[in-house]
């Protein structure tokens, strides 16, 4: 067994929420609003609905192959070599999106707060902390995430409360002006975020109660749906459709808060907490890459892989895109198609189909 730790139900929910929402806190509202205008919040709700099938497939696959991670049951479904090949592709995909996340957070910090600090240093620092957590195992990751999670959500709620004086719900109206197609287009990017739930398939075997995986994803989606919805509504209510042109719209939302005469602009504090969320998201994916690679290569321990994978992630994160603008346009326009129709939805559907056919074959024998 590569991983001896066990995580309980709520820890898994928190991990999943962080895994999907951390990066969405930064840019997602702008991407939705860019397509759907003031109906962006409808896109958020639509994406939550559309995301549920992906989650169901993830859970279903794991329940067909209990005790096995995604990388492991690929072998069973597709056979040895095709399974390994697809496993490798999945690992590459995880590596790619993880390096994008690292870059996203790195450039966020360097753009806004640490102007002048080399992004290399920021990324490296984050990855070193991630590596440290991974060395300590999944259990420590889940527990410390559980410790920080209330702060992340709390800061979000606090932001929403403090910004109420600046909000005007008239800016969210008129409803349904954008039309169904635009709303659907706006929901693709968040859907790709929701699709990251496929990574959950890598830790389902380590649940203390694997039977509750279904409950976990439902809870996750309820919390996530609420977060996405509120992010867009609050963003719109403060800035109107002009939100679409902001790089980090929720940052701008926090910037208008003023706890008069105590803390003039609390956004560094709030953002700091969110960066914590981002760090745990990166750590989770980093862990999955390391664990998956160890399983693919059938190693006895994943720990020797931690540093090499970290080095790869650091290097990739610097070269994954040339500028912030390019990165966000990739996330808005290409990523949904790249991720959704293959790794997050297409492949899992195909896998589930094959698995069900195979199972039926087995039963009939």
């Amino acid at each position: 067994m590569l991983e001896g730790g066990k995580i309980d139900t709520w820890q898994a929910v928190f991990l999943n929420v962080i895994m999907v929402s951390a990066t969405a806190l930064l840019g997602a509202p702008a991407i939705m609003v860019a397509q759907a205008g003031q109906d962006g919040w409808l896109s958020a709700l639509l994406a939550t609905m559309l995301g549920l099938p992906i989650a169901w497939i993830t859970v279903k696959l794991s329940s067909l192959y209990p005790g096995q991670t995604l990388i492991q049951y690929l072998d069973d479904i597709l056979g040895r070599w095709p399974g390994k090949a697809l496993g490798l592709l999945y690992l590459l995909y995880f590596t790619h999106i993880t390096s994008i996340m690292v870059r996203e957070y790195g450039s966020f910090l360097v753009d806004v707060f640490l102007i002048g600090t080399p992004i290399t240093v920021v990324n490296a620092m984050g990855l070193i902390i991630s590596a440290y957590i991974i060395k300590l195992g999944l259990e420590v990751l889940a527990r410390s995430n559980q410790l920080f999670f209330p702060w992340v959500i709390g800061s979000l709620v606090l932001t929403f409360l403090l910004v109420i004086p600046e909000m005007d719900l008239a800016r969210v109206q008129p409803v349904l002006e954008a039309g169904g197609l635009q709303i659907f287009k706006g929901s693709l990017a968040p859907l790709a975020w929701y699709g990251e739930i496929i990574a959950f398939a890598m830790v389902i075997p380590f649940l203390a109660k694997p039977g509750e995986a279904g409950k976990i994803v439902i809870l996750t989606f309820i919390i996530l749906g609420l977060i996405f919805f509120l992010l867009v509504v609050v963003g719109l209510a403060v800035f109107g459709p002009g939100l679409a042109n902001m790089n980090y719209p929720i940052l701008n939302v926090t910037r208008v808060i003023s706890l008069s005469r105590v803390i003039e602009r609390p956004e560094p504090l709030i953002m700091t907490v969110w960066v914590t969320g981002g760090l745990f998201k990166v750590t989770f994916f980093y862990y999955i890459i390391v664990l998956g690679s160890a399983q693919l290569l059938q190693l006895k321990s994943y720990r020797p892989l931690v540093l090499p994978v970290g080095a790869i992630l650091a290097a990739l994160s610097l070269n994954v895109s040339a500028s912030t603008l390019q990165m966000f346009s990739f996330l808005a326009h290409y990523w949904p198609f790249y991720a959704l129709f293959t790794f997050e939805f297409g492949f899992p559907v195909a896998l589930l189909g094959i698995a069900l056919i195979k199972n039926r074959g087995n039963k009939s024998k």
Partner: protein
């Protein structure tokens, strides 16, 4: 008459004889261990005198039995470790002058002298016999006196320990306003008796063992059978018996030798000098380790939240206690992060301050030549120096130091423009906050403050949070005797939150902390919440009962 024996241990030299005692120094000890007493008093004395050669504090007193002059007796003890008046009254006087004549006119002979000495002569409560020389030597060393009777190969060990010891005083490290005042002292037996007096129950087990090849320090492991998890006791005993060391002078030796995560700064073994705290820990299912020679008793397993708990918390009102505990958490956070927060805000996130405050701080800092990080670091180090000096310096010069510290470092530095007033405030607040939790609990935070300041000076708030993440992750990975150190917060144990950062009233804490007391979870009856008496008018008797209950 006891038979003349020269039994050997299996491992001893094949033909060891009494007269080979003087031979080679190296083998002497080994031989002595294997030897039994001889019936010949002189030989025994000769042997003991050799053993205690150059030990000027060992006293050999030979005297004659009251009735029969030919029966020689000898008393051996360490001067200073025994109660001398007890010895002279109840041993020497009783035996040499007052021993009553046997009523049945039995003649006291050499043969039955031992019996008479023990049964009629000695007026001492604890009496034990031994035939082993080594045991006799150890008894002498631990303060008992031994009485040798000519013609018998048996030494009578008199429990006459009595030495100059500190009396039981008020706790120096964990004082309380409400609650018992007594604290442990340096004597093991006194300490165990203090706990036994609180827990009058046969299930309170106190097992002894001796550690330290040279110091032969007594250790006692205490637990309450039926509450404690037996595996924990086995684990503790196993870790203790693994210790091979020349000496143990304080429980800190043992703490470092048995703890998990030996390199962590956070204490995963608790210590206290308060009997009530030890008793409470035992009642929750923990194990206490008493060490002779120190008032500090170890308790395991130890949680992080214990750093913010004091015994008084359980005696004062629950609401007030909860407030104080939150205050302590706040203080811990201040002690850990305030200087780095200050550095981060002043040199990275100036926009967070209200404009008038920023202008005021800017005005103060106008004359200061150093970056704020250097300034804060210097002041923090200065403060640590003052604190260390305050502990070490002789009492008489304490006042002088505090004047110097307050005047020079505080007033003069600000006036000379070396530091800003705001920095002094930050450092002073940090210092005060670090004293709110008990001393050893805050050591890690005092130390970690400095790396956090470095991080804050390099990356602002993000460096600070990165440091905090590493600290929290490290703490989550810690375990104390198999129990997660951060419990009940991480992992979350909802039931145990009642007695963590807040405290529920006693009637609501029905169960013991889950992770240590799950062996026997229920500690009190449920439904004890005091209520006003029902229907006072109708049932006078019941009303009285209700009042009594309240």
């Amino acid at each position: 008459m006891a038979f003349f024996s020269r039994r050997r241990k299996k491992t001893g030299p094949a033909d060891a004889k009494p007269n080979t005692r003087d031979s080679g120094q190296g083998s002497k000890k080994q031989i002595a261990q294997s030897l039994l007493l001889s019936p010949d008093l002189d030989e025994n004395l000769r042997f003991l005198k050799q053993s205690f050669a150059d030990c000027s504090d060992v006293v050999f007193r030979e005297f004659l039995f009251a009735q029969r002059e030919q029966i020689k007796l000898a008393l051996v003890y360490v001067d200073g470790l025994t109660n001398k008046s007890q010895l002279s009254d109840q041993v020497m006087r009783a035996l040499s002058l007052e021993i009553p004549a046997a009523t049945d006119n039995t003649v006291i002979t050499k043969a039955n002298a031992l019996h008479y000495v023990k049964m009629r002569g000695l007026c001492i409560h604890q009496v034990k016999e031994t035939e082993n020389l080594q045991e006799a030597v150890e008894a002498i060393l631990s303060g008992d006196s031994i009485l040798l009777v000519d013609g018998h190969a048996t030494a009578v060990i008199n429990g006459s320990r009595g030495w100059e010891a500190r009396s039981i005083e008020e706790s120096q490290t964990q004082g309380v306003v409400r609650g018992p005042r007594e604290s442990f002292v340096e004597t093991l037996r006194t300490n165990t008796s203090l706990v036994r007096r609180k827990i009058k129950n046969k299930d309170l087990k106190i097992e002894s063992l001796t550690l330290g090849e040279v110091t032969r320090t007594d250790i006692a492991v205490a637990y309450i059978k039926g509450i404690v998890n037996e595996d924990l006791v086995t684990e503790v005993k196993q870790r203790l018996t693994r210790i091979k060391i020349d000496g143990i002078l304080e429980s800190g030796y043992i703490e470092e030798l048995i703890r998990d995560n030996p390199l962590s700064m956070f204490p995963t073994v608790g210590h206290t000098d308060r009997p009530d705290r030890v008793a409470a820990n035992l009642l929750e299912g923990r194990v206490a380790i008493f060490v002779d020679g120190t008032p500090m008793v170890l308790t395991v397993p130890h949680f992080f939240v214990e750093a913010i708990q004091t015994p008084e918390d359980y005696y004062e009102q629950a609401l007030f206690t909860s407030f104080v505990r939150l205050l302590r958490i706040g203080s811990l956070l201040i002690a850990l992060t305030l200087p780095s927060l200050y550095v981060a805000i002043i040199s990275f996130h100036q926009e967070m301050l209200p404009t008038p405050l920023l202008l005021s701080i800017a005005a103060q800092r106008e004359a200061v030549p150093f970056p704020v990080f250097v300034e804060a670091l210097l002041m923090e180090i200065a403060f640590e120096i003052i604190r260390e000096a305050g502990i070490r310096l002789p009492r008489q010069v304490g006042q002088a130091i505090s004047i110097v510290a307050a005047l020079i470092v505080g007033q003069a530095a600000v006036q000379a423009g070396l530091v800003a007033g705001a920095t002094i405030i930050v450092v002073a607040l940090t210092a005060m906050a670090s004293f709110v939790v008990y001393y050893s609990g805050s050591l890690a935070f005092r130390l970690l403050r400095f790396p956090l300041m470095f991080l804050a000076a390099s990356f602002g708030l993000f460096g600070l949070i990165a440091g905090l993440i590493v600290i929290v992750v490290h703490m989550t990975s810690l375990r104390s005797f198999g129990v997660p150190y951060l419990a009940p917060i991480g992992p979350l144990v909802p039931g145990d939150l009642k007695d963590s950062i807040v405290r529920a009233p006693w009637w609501a804490m029905i169960k013991r902390p889950h992770l240590v007391g799950q062996n026997n979870p229920v500690r009190e009856a449920s439904g004890m919440r005091p209520k006003p008496p029902q229907t006072t008018a109708q049932k006078g008797g019941d009303a009285d009962a209700g009042r009594r209950q309240n």
